[in-house]
Symmetry: none
Subunit: 406 residues, 2 copies
Amino acid sequence: MNACVLTIGDELLQGFTVDTNSAWLGTTLLPYGIVIQKQITVGDDIQSIINESHKIINHEYNYFFITGGLGPTHDDITKEAFRQLLDDELVFNKQYYVHLKERFEKISIKMPKINESQAMVLKNANIIPNDIGSALGMHYFYNGTHIFIMPGVPSEMKKMIKKHIIPTYIKTVPEEHFITIKTAGIMESKLAEKVSGLMDKYSKSFRFAFLPHFSGVSFRIIKMVEGNELQIVKDEFYQKMQPYSYGFHNDTLEGIVGQKLIEKELSIAVAESCTGGLIGKRITDTAGSSEYFLGGIIAYSNLLKISLLDISKQTLKENGAVSEEIALELANGIRNKTNADIGLSTTGISGPVGATETKPVGLAYIGLVTPNKSIVKKYNFDFGRHLHREMVVTSSLNLIRLYLEK
Amino acid sequence: MNACVLTIGDELLQGFTVDTNSAWLGTTLLPYGIVIQKQITVGDDIQSIINESHKIINHEYNYFFITGGLGPTHDDITKEAFRQLLDDELVFNKQYYVHLKERFEKISIKMPKINESQAMVLKNANIIPNDIGSALGMHYFYNGTHIFIMPGVPSEMKKMIKKHIIPTYIKTVPEEHFITIKTAGIMESKLAEKVSGLMDKYSKSFRFAFLPHFSGVSFRIIKMVEGNELQIVKDEFYQKMQPYSYGFHNDTLEGIVGQKLIEKELSIAVAESCTGGLIGKRITDTAGSSEYFLGGIIAYSNLLKISLLDISKQTLKENGAVSEEIALELANGIRNKTNADIGLSTTGISGPVGATETKPVGLAYIGLVTPNKSIVKKYNFDFGRHLHREMVVTSSLNLIRLYLEK
């Protein structure tokens, strides 16, 4: 079944608000077999809403989802547009007016005059309750298309879809239509090369997508034909992507690392220079991380590297702070200071300044010291300060993962 | 001048990626007098791209911006669609092929086979360089409409617009159409109350929007009538919002704090418990932060609080780690260990577990010790683990700002 989404609002076109409703509708409806074919945004303008909606309802979509333009501050333009488009009538709903007034009174607020218009509803539409806000939703079944008119406020729209629209109008049982494999440590085009054979093999029944991110490349397998074995195909891709594949769906590198540390009963501590605390932040994003994460030292200045982590002044002078030697000393230092099983360190040049004749912006070293080995890896991520730091963190977490998987 | 935006990608329609390109184009182009009238998203499908683009180029838009469908993993469908639509030809650009190969060699990677297609370009189009990625942009002037074909990766698209498209094809001098005032330490409805009189006063010529975020509430003033004094109105609002207002546009709390630390020649170090490194991360997001940020200690476990920051076992036992007393000892501890002018600390219960009979999830203490005063603030942010941590960091930075502004 196919669908079209129309989102309404000047604030969306002018970019003051990012339209997240469309994406949410996409992922939420997919398991019900509803595939969005097109998404359109227009401004707060009745004629634009009519023009676009006219084209859509004459296009044989099964579903047409509209969000926005319902509130009093938008002059209720969406209702007026559909009144004209479907030759309907706006009528006063006394019952809802009283209910609305009571809702305001309950929070000790006199209902603002502008909210009164929200009790005006389209006569031929089915009303969809709004459990959070004051703008009602509306449903038409017109010309073979289910039309849903909803408020633009994400929380109100989501509640309407989940609590009212799916149970009443969609009904079908959701089915897993896609699986995401998470990878780290490999770039998109290399990963694509690795699985191109498998993609060809399954191209008739599945669609594939690469989703690159600084935290790694996600690979999505989308089932296009009913009855195919998503689970089996998934495993085949996962194996082929080893050792880069580390999880599925919403798994995170820090979450997987955490699980493995718990399994192996190992603790970890970090000495962060260029990442400035971001590794600690990422590790402690996971609830329960106190079980394996002791903490760390943000040794941003050389002074702190020496005073808090016993880095040798001599090594620092000879090699500079961004060097293999210092990465190793930092990892050893934090491990000794905290008695952690694993010591991890970062040192690098995130830029925009800080480069030297021999050391470019983007250079980074990651040190990992464990009970049975010490390693230092050298990287070069010259993609700006923000990405440099994120990629150093991702590489650090991946280095720990690979060690723990051995 | 009006414009239309077409974004391409199954991942957008299926909601795996939120389309932020459209919003960015909206705000970025507005100062150049370019108003986006419509935004459309279609999937990775040549015929859909052709159909929509055909309608758009026959609609007298001044500008038509297309993003996505250019990479090798998208089968370069956008190029093929415009080849068909504009009856053009795909030709091999040897020069770019060599350049691309060299770029890969520079990072010691053999160019993957699938990247080769990126050297195929549309014959009649003007090439727009890609300074970040490998997919070239293209420009046509067709039927009165400037058509820009750009990659979907946000960083690549943005660079193309700023560095190449605006200087070469748009040229007009940007005029300020809106101003954003940044605030921290006040909730949206309270801020609205504070400025409701001013909003009424200027409602004829300006539009206003509150944009709440865990890093504070932004307030946007949008000029609706030419020739109005945005600068004067801005200052009036800014004053009215004191002491919560701290900056404009893309100013960040950490950036403002950094500036003031430099001005006053003060250094800072942090002792983070519940925030796990996020304060360090936020401070070092600002390039040049090494001038005032020495570093810190992530004292996530009580063991590290004692061993690295000399927290008294007695205080810990009597008050618990999440207490006014420990916040103060942590801030004093890091200040003494690092000789920083300012010591900042956090301790709290981010949840979901960790609450006790007397201490709920959401509780947090922030300690600030400076050469002339010591303060501890108590907060309760019960909005989930992620928001708790972010809001503790924002409050910490705001606390430093208020101290430095005195």
